[in-house]
Amino acid sequence: MSEHAEHAQHAPINYVRIWGILVALLVVSVAGPMLGIKTVTLITAFGIACVKAYLVAKNFMHINLEQRFVTYVIVTVVVFMFLFFAGVAPDVMKDEGSGWVKPAWKAAAAAAPSVHGGPSH
């Protein structure tokens, strides 16, 4: 079958090694928050998630061995999701905007017990 042919001309991937890297990254992402520095947490949590996703997509799903358009399609849908986020966040992510406020949310935020952390600001 054609995809076998595709693989043939590429150097075989050492899957166990990739797995090892992924596990190591997992350990880091768990350890990260223990430092208690929010920026570090963000990087170790989400930065590493992206790295892991990339490693899996490349080495396990072999997306780079597929026709180029496969990558384009996946990237496009991901971009659409960011587009969606950008279009919606101004309404949903804020409790106050130009000409409107969300009293219920403000009240909840005020009533909430003292906050330790959270990825925002």
Binding site: G87, K94, G97, S98
Partner: protein
């Protein structure tokens, strides 16, 4: 539902000799599945049309007992308009334009024997049928059908104590969800088939426009429906598990649903538009004996429209409490989308230049699509322009606008495609006289339905209100009532003329004259096989040597040049 579908199958049954249960209900043949989609869609269309008749009567003559229905209570009215919208878009436009024509045409036009995944194809129809049954069942549950508009905005749709149809709204949501799953399965089939299974020699630019359009539509659907599926899950839980995704008092936000909905809802417009645009391309080229003017440009306009359609969704929410500053961005993107669409229409008109145009029924339908859709297109500008939308939002102007797009797309587009491919589908020619009567009886009244509604909308008539006698400024305006009456009478007239279509359908099926392989002298591959095509479509699958629109090529005696004819 059942009694609606049954005639469809009996009809098909009349022309093949054997137990239709296995052959027509559990067949994996793309042609049979196309028929299942088409006749289910038509059956649902009848339901939707009946609803339209009922509430138009109520609007023009408030409080009368509508013949064939009875008194229209506010609750019933809401359920009627809600389900009219849902049915016409999700259970008529999509199954007929996308699924039926997609299933029938893609394999035949790209020269292969079936869809790549026949069983998934069958599964997609079965899920679709279940979704239709669930929806129809929801009209009869305690509390009646869902009445929160097809956009189903929470909190109204989320809480039984607000919409008073707890069961109906959940069933509506489940039905819509199942329908989406069905079309995801179907869409994957369409895309994969068109990408991978083209006849040998058929390059990308040799693919007939309608196939391109259906594939792009499927891709748009697939890329846009996800958030709404997620939203449907969230709304379902809000309805039944007491979560608060859309309940502001408990940390949710109702506006989120509007975004989830319209992020899908706007591309959806193009999902149903594109198949029709493709059908029209096939028809006008054949009957003008012209090559499609600038094939590639049309293709690029389609891609442009497709990408842009993901950036405009919030123009449905200008006054819905979204941040005013965002409106500027969405106005710009919305008006930009008029460029590719205008370009596309111009190219279609340009295609007619220098043609030798004949006017059989399919051509009349195709041309009336262009003529009518233009009205829908230009009136969209009023609504895309944020400033003007403040006045027109949710008024009958909007309603008239999108009916001027959806009517040409769904009804005219369907009749165009159906009359054009009827000989291929059933091996009989349709009756031209009846066809033309039906055409004029549909294409003329429709303007008398919706032109008046533009005006009443501009007068400040707003949507989904069962009786305008409660609004003195409107109720005391005789013009308002005159226009309402015109619209309603035109509706009844137009619906009455649809009977002609069904007469024509049955007459032609019984005693229509036998259709040759290629009655319209067209180029595309489906016309090179028998009418109707056998299982497997061709004894020997065709090979392609040229593009689909090589009509009136200089130096050829014949004014057409089939794609599979060796040079």
């Amino acid at each position: 539902m059942a009694e609606h579908v049954a005639p469809a199958h009996h009809e098909a049954h009349a022309h093949h000799e054997e137990s239709w249960v296995r052959k027509y209900l559990f067949s994996t043949d793309h042609k049979i599945i196309a028929m299942q989609y088409m006749f289910t869609g038509m059956a649902m269309g009848l339901i939707g049309a009946y609803f339209a008749y009922v509430f138009r009567m109520q609007l023009a003559f408030p409080g009368i007992s509508v013949p064939g229905f009875g008194l229209v209570s506010p609750a019933k009215y809401n359920a009627l308009v809600t389900n009219h919208g849902s049915i016409m878009i999700f259970w008529v436009a999509m199954p007929v334009l996308l699924a039926a024509f997609g299933n029938y045409l893609i394999p035949l036009m790209i020269g292969c024997d079936d869809m790549v995944f026949p069983k998934i194809n069958r599964l997609s129809y079965q899920i679709f049928l279940i979704s239709a049954l669930v929806l129809v069942a929801s009209f009869f549950v305690p509390g009646g059908g869902f009445g929160g508009a097809w956009t189903s905005y929470p909190p109204l749709s989320a809480k039984g104590q607000y919409n008073l149809t707890p069961l109906g709204s959940t069933m509506w949501l489940v039905a819509v969800g199942l329908e989406f799953v069905a079309f995801l399965l179907g869409g994957i089939n369409f895309i994969t088939t068109a990408m991978n299974s083209r006849a040998p020699g058929m390059k990308l630019y040799d693919v007939p426009m309608v196939v391109w359009m259906i594939v792009v539509a499927s891709i748009l659907f697939m890329c846009s429906v996800g958030p709404l599926l997620a939203g449907a899950i969230m709304l379902f839980m809000d309805q039944n598990l007491g979560t608060a995704f859309f309940d502001p008092d408990r940390g949710g936000d109702p506006v989120l649903w509007q975004h989830l909905f319209w992020f899908f809802g706007h591309p959806e417009v193009y999902v149903v538009l594109l198949p029709t645009v493709g059908i029209v391309a096939e028809i006008i080229t054949v009957f003008a004996r012209k090559k499609l003017f600038a094939y590639r440009t049309v293709l690029y306009t389609v891609f442009g429209t497709g990408v842009l359609s993901f950036t405009v969704w919030a123009h449905h929410q200008f006054i819905a409490g979204v941040d005013p500053r965002m409106a500027h961005i969405f106005t710009v993107t919305t008006l930009l989308i008029s460029i590719p669409i205008a370009e596309m229409m111009f190219i279609y008109i340009a295609t007619l230049y220098g043609g030798s145009i004949s006017f059989p029924t399919p051509m009349l339908w195709a041309l009336s699509f262009i003529a009518t859709f233009l009205i829908g297109g230009v009136t969209g500008i009023f609504l895309g322009a944020s400033g003007a939308d403040i006045y027109f939002h949710d008024s009958y102007f909007v309603l008239a606008h999108f009916h001027y797009t959806f009517f040409p797309i769904t009804i005219i587009g369907f009749y165009a495609g159906f009359t054009y491919w009827f000989p291929k589908m059933f091996g009989k020619m349709m009756n031209e006289t009846l066809g033309k009567i039906h055409f004029w009886g549909t294409a003329i009244p429709v303007n008398f339905i919706f032109i008046p509604l533009f005006i009443t909308g501009a007068m400040g008539q707003h949507r989904r209100i069962y009786n305008y006698e409660n609004f003195p400024d409107l109720a005391n305006n005789p013009l308002f009532w005159q226009l309402s009456h015109i619209a309603t009478i035109a509706t009844v007239v137009m619906l009455a003329f649809q009977v002609v279509f069904f007469i024509n359908l049955f007459v032609s099926l019984r005693s229509g004259k036998k259709a040759p392989k290629n009655p319209w002298l067209a180029n595309t591959l489906e016309w090179t096989t028998e009418s109707p095509p056998p299982h497997g479509n061709w004894a020997e699958l065709p090979r392609v040597y040229r593009g689909p629109y090589e009509y009136s090529v200089p130096g050829r005696k014949q004014d057409y040049w089939p794609q599979n004819e060796p040079a």
